[in-house]
Amino acid sequence: MKIGIIIEREYLTRVKKRSFLIITFLAPLFFAALMFLPAILMTNSEKFENKKVIAVCDESTLFNGKLENTDINTFIYIDKSIDEAKQLVKDGVYDGVLYIPGTKLTVPTNAELYSIKQQPMTLTSHIRSSMKQIVEHQKLMSSGIDPAIVKASATTINVQQIKMSEKEGGEQKSFSEFEFFLGLFLALIIYFVIFIFGNQVMRGVIEEKTNRIIEVIVSSVKPFELMMGKIIGIALVGLTQFLLWGVLTLAITGIASTFLPTQDVFSGGTVMSEQIAETGVNTTDPDTLTEVFEIIHSINFKDILWCFLLYFIGGYFLYSAMFAAIGAAVDNETDTQQFVTPISLLLVIPMVCSSIIATAPDSSFALWMSMIPFTSPVGMMLRIPFGVPIWQVVLSVALLFATFIVFTWLASKVYRTGILMYGKKVSWKEIFKWIKY
């Protein structure tokens, strides 16, 4: 089969490229870093910092001896003017000086931290919370309220959203924030890979046309075989890249987690720590951890993965067939814009509307977006983490694949005429004429 030879060449020349190797191996490091960094920074931040001695120059005298010392931050109260204290920092005696100006009538609410080096956020936030506690305590005391009562009356309310399903016992806790971000993440990935790999198809076609190798090749194989060989070959490059990314990311996170002391935190929970950090949940909180596990267990990653692959293949084939036709129609890359822009818009629409779709995944707008073949790869990815009825997925995938077959056929007609046409500024009208040939 000649198409096999073409697929082989398209695949091997791309996989052997240095840029492919670099992206394949760097991206998992990046992904792993995305997963680990927030957790590492939150749990281990102190390990990355040097011990510090901060002089406290407290004119209000309210905080004397009350600021909490931590493992790395030690507060020393000095009875000197702020100018003298600053001089001591300059001389290197202290790492910094915290200046709390005195106020006559009210309790102080401002403080200044002087240091030569930029101090980490953790230090300022520690100072802030310590001071806040002390001031609040002071205020309560002066109003005659026992701070212990206030502490005891503090309550946290959790509102748990439970998704109901017709099936018996199919109730699940739902975590819409997490699903929102997962959907957005998947949609972004599918959006980018369709564009990146579709663009590769287009550039490949233009390369063959401008190289003039096309005439030799079409005397050996049918243009349709060449076009499909290229599209399939590049699709396999994409799938290889996903596979390697998956394996490498798992390997890197696996290796990294054995080297990190806070193993229990990483043994699964941190996979999503990035999203959790975004949603503002503190990873170190044990309650949140169990919640993270619940979230992960509530999501059917296997189904999502399958959907992702199906929509990647369908969407990629649909768009890359169109990109191949564009590549064949033009003489060089600069002429592609007038054709690429309107086609790209079809895929950009659901991306622009992503927050509308993801916040109301069951709305009729979201349904349409996930049904129309041009928008469905992105549209469905936004909805899929929330759970989509199986008939909708089947219908949408069927529509997508039917459309890609029709469009591949149309594109091949444009392609066949276009690849041997030189020196002609092609318009949309011309392209429709070619389809009719």
Partner: protein, 285 residues
Amino acid sequence: MNYLEINNVSKSYGTKKVLNDISIKVPKQSIYGLLGPNGAGKTTLIRILNQITMPDSGQVLLDGNPLSPNDIAQIGYLPEERGLYKKMKVGEQAIYLAQLKGMDRKEADKRLRQWFVKFGIANWWDKKVEELSKGMQQKVQFIVTVIHEPKLLIFDEPFSGFDPINVNLLKNEILELRDKGSTILFSTHNMSSVEELCDNIMLINKGEKILEGSVYDIKQRFKNHSYDVVYKPFDGSGETRFTANSTNPNELIRDIIDKGELVSFNEILPSMNEIFINLVSSSNK
């Protein structure tokens, strides 16, 4: 026996008639010149032979049978506008193109290496195409065209981009291929190479066949009975050369030998170049 026969082939693009009722017969193991000005329809005809485009009407017979997709392996085509993948290694690429012509990978590798040695380019095997000069790339392309030992070879302007030494090398290769059994279709504007290589030619203009035949017959047909005469007059005034027109060369010679001693007497045949220009410009009127 004719290896290739084109019978009444017509092709239109939209309302434009590109080929109008073209018929040619190419004898086996001959070199057939396909001549015509730019836009005459040569490329379309060649693309029909390569099954890149289909004729609207008419038939192409290869070795007596209608052209079919299986014949691709029997045809080698060197297009006028030719190129290679710039980033691919020369050897790898040649194997790929040979495979597309239906060759087995190992066999392609073996034969290609022999050809590379023959053309003195064996050390380019692992170089990238973009590192080669244009002339070097042309050599690779020629090898790729003939590697699967096709029975029909189509060369479209094969000598463009070659220096005289390589033109000579190529001419000899083409003649050798013919002697080994290939039938060759040769499209060019270079009339001197037509006279040197072609057994038969066809001249087309605006999709119409305006001339066909063997190079010898055509020259005979277009001769205008002029002779190049050199003689030594008896009066002792050195050698004289003149051109004479006469339908009766014997009478002409008789006249001359009365006046002096005949040194040489040659018929002036028109060059293919002249015939080409005359015919095309008169058919354009």
